[in-house]
């Protein structure tokens, strides 16, 4: 019992938690932007797959790591463009389009992988982002290693939360974006194109999702595997609800989920086969569902979420 408790005070546990949280943070921010503008983006799982592959492939073909991040973001934005075109001006069902994008993006990625690397059995490795301890700050006990000796991409994730929050609440653009998700008629009546706002949001959000995927191949691991996203996208959709569509709360949710995940791995090792390991694997999900139930009771979702807007319709 005591040992199980002591895990919570080890630096390695928190380092792992923050590392696991990083891709979730990127993708959750991406989904949050889309939903705040009124578009549910269920393409997230596929777009993360594309990002993971595109970033890794860029580096494997000799590109710089940061170029890899940029290529991942760009490919995410392209799938966002497709998703947005279908759901915003054409006003198709966001559920159907989202699932379709996920299937398309995932399959296209695997197909491309086989085209590029037809012969390999084990995927080639790249040199990923290395931890970059921040002087002084990383010396703080517990917090230091957890937050300040991570890879640059993790730092970028936290910066992204700040930027998203700033844009949403402190800029004219964020105002238009939030209004588009609440009452698009209000946006149109002030002379702003709802279509432009929503398209922009979906593209930017999808780019962030793809960077979240790229984190897995370029920072957490050093290679690309099939099924490596493994439901993380769906978790991010739940995290947006958990965070009541607010960046700060969603960040807390992502870290919490990641901490559960890191914890269960360590508990597995501790109990050493006495308890079936599947029980531990289940834990983060059970706890997230429980947290969702508690947290989302009062959540006020964007009122125009999933409702297509057509100008000039009676």
């Amino acid at each position: 019992m005591v040992e199980a408790f002591e895990i919570l005070f080890t630096a390695s546990f928190w380092i792992a938690a923050i590392r696991i949280a990083s891709p979730l943070i990127f993708a959750t921010m991406g989904e949050l932007i889309c939903e705040r503008a009124g578009v549910l983006n269920l393409g997230i799982e596929g777009i993360m797959t594309v990002g993971a592959f595109a970033g890794w492939m860029t580096v494997y073909s000799g590109g710089d790591l940061w170029l890899g991040v940029a290529v991942a973001a760009l490919s995410g934005a392209l799938f966002g463009l497709l998703h947005g075109t279908l759901t915003v001006p054409l006003g198709l069902s966001q559920h159907v389009v989202g699932i379709g994008i996920t299937l398309l993006a995932t399959s296209l990625t695997y197909f491309t992988y086989r085209l590029v690397l037809p012969e390999v059995t084990s995927p080639p490795k790249i040199v990923p982002f290395q931890p970059l301890p921040i002087p002084v700050l990383s010396d703080i006990p517990l917090v230091g290693p957890a937050l300040f000796s991570q890879t640059p991409l993790t730092y970028l994730a936290f910066v992204a939360v700040g930027v998203v929050a700033w844009v949403l609440y402190r800029t004219p653009l964020g105002l238009a974006l939030r209004a588009a998700g609440e009452n698009p008629a209000a946006v149109e009546a002030q002379g702003i194109s709802v279509t432009a706002v929503r398209m922009g949001a979906v593209m930017a959000g999808s780019a962030l999702m793809a960077v979240g995927g790229a984190f897995l191949t370029m920072s957490a691991f050093n290679s690309f595997f099939f099924e490596m996203i493994n439901g993380r996208g769906w978790i991010c959709i739940a995290l947006v609800v958990f965070g009541s569509w607010r960046p700060g709360k969603a960040l807390v949710g992502a870290i919490l989920f990641a901490a559960f995940d890191a914890y269960q791995v360590r508990l597995q090792q501790l109990t050493g086969g006495v308890v079936p390991y599947q029980l531990f694997l289940m834990m983060p999900f059970v706890l997230s569902i429980a947290a969702l139930v508690v947290m989302s009771r009062r959540a006020s979702y964007p009122k125009a979420l999933m409702i297509p807007y057509r100008k000039g319709e009676r």
Partner: protein
Amino acid sequence: MTSSTAPVLRISGVTKRFGPLVANDSISFELMPGEVIALLGENGAGKTTLMNILFGHYVADGGEVEAFGAKLPPGDLRAALDAGIGMVHQHFTLADNMTVMDNIALGTQSAWSWRLDRARARSRIRQLAQDFGLAVDPDRTVSALSVGERQRVEILKALYRDAKILILDEPTAVLTPLETEALFRTLKMLVAKGLSVIFISHKLGEVMAVSDRVLVLRAGRLSGERATRQTTRQELAALMVGQEVAAPPVPPVERGAPLLTLENVSTAPGPGGSALRGVSLTLHAGVITGLAGVSGNGQAALAALLAGTAAPASGRLLVGGEAAADWSPRAALAHGIARIPEDRHAVGSIADMSVTENVIAERYRSPPFSRNGFLDWKAARAFAQQLIRDYDVKCPSPETRIRLLSGGNMQKLILGRALDPDPVVILANQPTRGLDVGAVAYVHGRLLEARARGAAILLISEDLDEILALSDEVLVMFKGRLSSPSQRGERSIRELGALMAGHGLEEAADAA
């Protein structure tokens, strides 16, 4: 600046069609600086459509709009805003989750600036609010505002953009009398500062009170133009409806058998106003029972009870002298209770389904619409066509989605659906809210016909004039309790007003 003789706005030959429906038929007029034009017309006459074209929300099929001498590109909202046109829509265009200030500032700053200038916005809004008597706190969230306050925010939105022309679409429809007076004061101030106003309404009294000139629209055409000082309500009403409207005569009818009785009924508390507390009430054949009261005092609970969507928590409900078991909407219908719901959009109709589907909504399970478990569309369509003809509904075809109908026409259809099976009890909840003169007279006439036929009618209305014009017996509801009944002409408006405010009923309510 334009000279005072040049029009600020010129509309020439504007035409707009929705499918086979011609909403605007080559309409032309001019708006002069500092002038208040009233655009008068029945529901569905094309007023809102015309303004939406002017504001760039719809693209016209023909004609053009000129503001301050420059042609406005069609369908370009931004251009209309930049030209100084501001519009206060009937359904407000506000984001509820944002503050007043954010709603007003939306779209007024370059989208790419890195920071919203809230301090500047706040001080400007305060200044405008003070100048025009539009008191509202810029830092409050819109969802916490009253309807009147929201409207002020909408007007501030236009003023914040330096609008020179303000269009108000049915601005008083949602306001209390006091708020309406305040709005009229604001309009006077706006005009004094040189703004021009287009005021859309179907209420003659308001039009006479605020406008300099009246344009009357009928069935998409401009049917007349009058200087307000040189016209009368009667003349305008005639232009609007196409004929003189007279109050329907109410012939005396013998009080018949009791058809529906409530004995000391209380209901469980629910959302939307008071629950019923020990209500006893009898509806007789051939009698219109008027229920007056400020909304939220239990009318909704009573309507739900009669419609079958709620059951008594205690007390008895008797239909035709027998206690009703398993009270449900289906049971209510089976007992011959017809409902004209308060909210025709949310409850009375299914917006995206056709007229045909809507009119059989209460009877699709029984012949002739259902045969061996299958719908008989031929019979359904024939029924829809019959209602469209008999109830004078203006709609292109039975296949039209009901949302495309104007409020008055939708109400006529709902009225037809309720009255066609010759119901024994009719629940008419706010049957004429938001309707124009012609449609109101029509609904009243039909209700009186049903009364002459021997139906028992419960008329719930906030409009005392309506209650007094139609009811044989008047009751007042306050905090879920009923006053004693009074016969036609027994209580004056003043006495009813006092009852509505709770005098005489309050003690009883508090004692419980």
